[in-house]
Structure formats: C-alpha cells, structure tokens
C-alpha cells in the first residue's frame, strides 16, 4: 500500500465516523481513529491527520498534539516491519544495549531509522511487560523474549529476504 497523501478512502472515513458516534464526544475516538489509519498506511501523514481532524471536528494542531504525545503513533514513515526493542531496566540489566548495537551494525541504521530497502524500522521502547524473559522485543504484533544474537540473525534474515509487496 502506498503512503501517498491522497484523501482517506470512503470506507476508512465511514469507520472513523462510526467510532466517533459510539463515544459521548467525537474526540474520544481520536486515538482509535489514528490507529486505524496507521494500521492501513503504517504511519499517519499530515494529510491524513487533517482528514481525521475534520471528521472528528477537531483542529489539526489539536489532533497532532495528541498524535505526537504517544509512542505508538508514527508521524513519520516506517518500514514494512517495526522492531520495538525494549530499553527499560530489566532488559538493560540483561544486555539489551549489546543487542541494539549488533542490530544497528547488521542493518546499518541507528535506533529510530529505517533500513535502506524499507524492510525494517528499529525503535527503542519502554518496558514491554516481558521482564521474566528479558531482553524482550516486539516485532510488529509479536512479542519475543530471551532475545539473543542467533535469534536476531534469524529475524533480520527473514524480514529482509521477504519480497516487498
């Protein structure tokens, strides 16, 4: 799916309006609405943000204040896969910095960046609640624990070898 700045399609607009109608006030649906946009386009462009704001009767800046408040709403394009590598305390004790350095070297990116082929974005994240299996990471929607170098090697191979859609 392209991330071009075309208007939100009718079905997504209808979905967002339905979310808004289910709430006491339309703005209550703003996070859910932005999550819907992101699940289709992988990120929230300014153009799409303006569309959502209009549907929820909010100003675009008001909505952007909310979008930029939350870690899981992406206001910049991300890769086809997002690796959220935990950087909180238990994972830090168990060696997450070493894993992060290794990933950065392998993928030739820094945390916050996307690989040149657009396959992987690497982001640090706060505690994922998997501390008994630290170091932990979230690969798209899948929680992974006891992460080590062989696991990272298998993961990056699989994700980069996948043909782009």
């Amino acid at each position: 799916m392209s991330t071009a700045d075309h208007p939100l399609p009718d079905d997504l607009q209808a979905e967002i309006l339905a979310l808004a109608r289910a709430e006491p006030h339309p703005r209550s649906a703003c996070v859910a609405a932005l999550q819907r946009v992101q699940s289709r386009y992988r990120w929230i462009s300014t153009h799409h943000l303006r569309d959502v704001a209009r549907l929820l009767d909010m100003s675009p800046d008001d909505l952007d204040g909310i979008a930029t408040c939350f870690n899981l709403l992406f206001r910049k394009p991300v890769g086809r896969h997002v690796i959220l590598l935990c950087d909180s305390i238990s994972c830090w004790i168990m060696g997450r910095d070493h894993l992060c350095d290794h990933l950065c070297r392998t993928l030739a990116i820094r945390p916050g960046e996307t690989t040149e082929d657009g396959a992987i974005t690497l982001l640090p994240t706060v505690c994922l609640g998997h501390c008994d299996h630290a170091p932990a990471m979230l690969v798209d929607d899948t929680l992974c624990g006891d992460v080590d170098l062989p696991m990272l090697a298998r993961l990056t191979d699989t994700l980069t070898e996948e043909p782009p859609p």
Partner: protein, 431 residues
C-alpha cells in the same frame, strides 16, 4: 469446592487458551455475580470489600472499599457512572497484569461487573496498553463470550442491573497509568494528569463519577464476594489481606511471577521461587516493586513484602515485582537507565518535572561517561529534594522518579565517588 489459596491464578494454565464462559463457570466462576446480584445490595459489596482490607494492587495501595465509598449513591439508572480497569501496565519491571489478562480475562470481567454493581456504574472501560496484543485479542473474545452468555448487557440475571464493557487500546504513554491522566486520555486529549479535587469518584470521565481500579485489584473481587472477607484476610501473613502477584527479574536463575500470600519476604521469593541468583552473581540491592520504588539492600531481604512493612524499611511495595541489582551491574548505569525513562515519560505539563528529570538524566550520563564532577552529586541530591517532595510537582511522576535516585545516592555513595575520581565507570573499564 473448597476455595483455592491461590485464587487469582487457580484457573490459569500458561500453556493453554484461557477458560471460556462454560469452563469458567464450571471452575467456580460467576458464583460471586449470582450472589451479588441476587442477594446483596451495592452497599453490602462495598462493606465486604472494605472488611477484606483489599488495597489497590496498581502501586498506590489505597483501600479499595474506601475508594468506592466516595462515589455518589444514586442507582445506575439515574446517573451515568464509569468503572474503569487500569490495564495500562507500564511500570518498568512489571508483568503481572499481563499474566491475568492473558490467562483468565473472564475473571477480570467478573471483577469489573462486581465493582460496577457496588458503585452502580453501567459503563465499563478497559484501558489496555497498546503493546499487549495477545491480551487484547483474548479480552475482546472474552467480552463477546460474556455478552453472548448474558453476563454483560441489559438486565443481567434478570436482577435489573445493566453493565457493558468497552475496550480502549492505549497508544503508549507511561503517564496514562496515573488515573487522572488516564481519564484525560480517554477523553481524547494529551495524557496530562488533572488536579484533585474533584476526585474521579465525583468528577471523573466527562465529569461523571468514575472509579479506576487496577487489573489485579479487580481480579480479587469474585473471590472476596464468594468466600467472604474473613477468608481473604486469612490468606495474607500480616496486616494485609489476600495474595499478591510477586515477581523477580534480573540475574536470577528463574525469573517469573508467582501468586503468594501477601507479606511473603523477598528472600523467600528469590530463593524458593526464582531459584536464587545466577552462578557468579550476588545480590547487591533490589527495587521491591517497579522502577519508582526506592532501593533496598540485602539487609531488607527478610522484610515482609506488605504495604506497611516495606514502607517502614524505606521503600514501597509498589507493584510487587522486584528488579534485582547484582554485583556485576553498575548502580550508576542502572540509575541512568531509570532516570532516562522517567525523563522521557514526563508528560511535560509542569516545569519542575519537564526540565528537572532530563537534567538528572544528563548528570547521571555524564558521571557514567567520566565527565562528571563532584559537585554533580550535590546537584543530584538537591533534585531529589526539589522533585521528590510531593506537592512540588503536579502529580506523583517526579516523586516516583526520585525514589530510586535518593536511595541510590546513599546506598551507592562509593560507586558515585569512584566514577568521579576514576573519570568513568569502573565496571565498564573492568569489562
């Protein structure tokens, strides 16, 4: 069926799918709802829970019955009220609510139903952190299952009480765990805390009376209502009632979480359940209940892990999930990691927190990297006073952030000094 002494986890099998409505009922579920809706008034439920001395399991430890008692007494049919499950588990080192959400979501739903009946709320909301994908799928399925079987919806059990649950998936912000910030986020605004009063119980979500309870707190309710306050009190080992999900992470042999009598000492938790420290590592100190609790050292290992005993020892029970600092991990590095987290997660609403926490994190980074000076330690100490005293910041975020730092500056004084005089981390150089 005699009640389990591990009621919260009795139906949880980590290797299997959670029980559906039929299996849940067969194992004793929905009994409490039948009892409450058919034979108890809402005030009866508040009374049982008050007598059970159940205290909030999210970290603050406020009496649950007392929290509910401030809600106006009007029936649900006459006033819109909200019962909200705080499932925004984001305290670093904490993974207990995920276990309950994934393992037995119907237990949470029944707990919410009972709490809602007690405060006469018709609207339930689960505020679930966005990263908990499996919990979300299982909870959505359980809500559907409960609706289909008549445990949620209109006129439940024909008793004239209606209640339903809506799910809100968060988008990642630690401060949403603070109950007033959670309400602000639900209203579609930036997640900043609110001043109290008004308290949520009288003026919460959209100004309506609202109660926000932690997942573990709510999961206790079916068992308290079914088996009574006296039974619940008998499960604890000290002044507090019930069991607690305790956990350990760090360099132990078997990290994990276990349901144990509240008041179990940390030594027993580490040695008997976490199988002791990993070979080659010794325990140096621990954070008893998440990132925002003060360090305790090995002399506190025999302290009963209940609210008042941990407080007397100089920390807080918090979430009850401990993080171990071992002798091969740098305490200054650990504090830098913690304060970096708190600085990043400050909502930015009040200046002392927004500007003070990044300053603290930068000072710690400098000390760890070898560019720190001895005055920096005094500067850190001043911050623990300026940010650590409740009332100087808008909410409890900065005081929570200062708890490990204030205790760490005392406990690890020599480590700080060694970083300054040796121009860097001695452990990093050794490695």
């Amino acid at each position: 069926m005699s009640p389990s002494d591990r009621p919260l986890t009795a139906m949880i099998d980590a290797s299997a799918a959670p029980p559906d409505c039929t299996a849940y009922e067969k194992a004793g579920g929905w009994q409490a709802t039948r009892k409450a809706l058919k034979t108890c008034t809402p005030d009866d439920i508040i009374e049982i829970v008050t007598q059970s001395k159940l205290r909030g399991r999210g970290g603050a430890g406020f009496g649950t019955g007392q929290k509910w008692s401030f809600v106006p007494k009007k029936p649900a049919s006459e006033q819109r009220k909200y019962l909200i499950a705080n499932a925004d588990e984001m305290e670093p080192g904490t993974f207990k609510d995920r276990l309950l959400l994934e393992g037995n979501p119907l237990q949470l739903i029944e707990g919410m139903l009972l709490a809602a009946y007690a405060i006469q709320a018709s609207h339930g909301i689960v505020f679930l952190r966005g990263e908990y994908h499996l919990a979300r799928r299982r909870l959505e399925q359980a809500i559907e299952d409960a609706r289909h079987n008549g445990w949620l919806g209109e006129n439940i059990l024909g008793a004239g009480f209606s209640f339903d649950i809506h799910m809100h998936a968060g988008a990642g912000r630690y401060i949403c765990g603070e109950e007033t910030a959670l309400l602000t986020a639900l209203e579609g605004r930036r997640a900043t805390p609110r001043s109290k009063p008004p308290f949520p119980q009288t003026g919460g979500l959209w100004g309506a009376p609202s109660v926000v309870n932690n997942v573990e707190t709510l999961c206790n309710l079916p068992h308290i209502v079914t088996n009574g306050a006296r039974w619940f009190l008998s499960l604890g080992t000290g002044a507090d009632g019930g069991t607690k999900l305790y956990g350990v992470s760090g360099r132990v042999r078997r990290p994990g979480a276990w349901e144990l009598p509240i008041g179990t000492p940390m030594r027993e938790i580490i040695e008997n359940h976490a199988a002791g420290m990993q070979p080659g590592y010794t325990l140096r100190a621990f954070l008893p209940g998440g990132a925002s609790t003060a360090f305790l050292d090995a002399t506190a290992l025999d302290v009963a892990m209940d609210y008042s005993s941990v407080e007397k020892a100089g920390s807080r029970l918090g979430t009850g999930l401990a993080i171990i600092l071992d002798d091969r991990t740098c305490p200054v590095g650990m504090l830098h990691n913690l304060e970096h987290f708190f600085a990043q997660e400050s909502c930015g609403w009040c200046t002392p927190c927004r500007d003070g926490l990044p300053w603290v994190a930068r000072l710690l980074a400098a000390i760890e990297d070898g560019t720190g000076e001895s005055d920096d330690i005094e500067q850190l100490r001043r911050h623990t006073k300026m940010l650590g005293t409740p009332g100087r910041t808008f909410c409890a975020h900065a005081p929570g952030a200062m708890a490990p730092l204030a205790s760490g500056l005392k406990l690890f004084r020599d480590d700080f000094a060694a970083h300054i005089t040796g121009h860097g981390c001695p452990m990093r150089h050794a490695a």
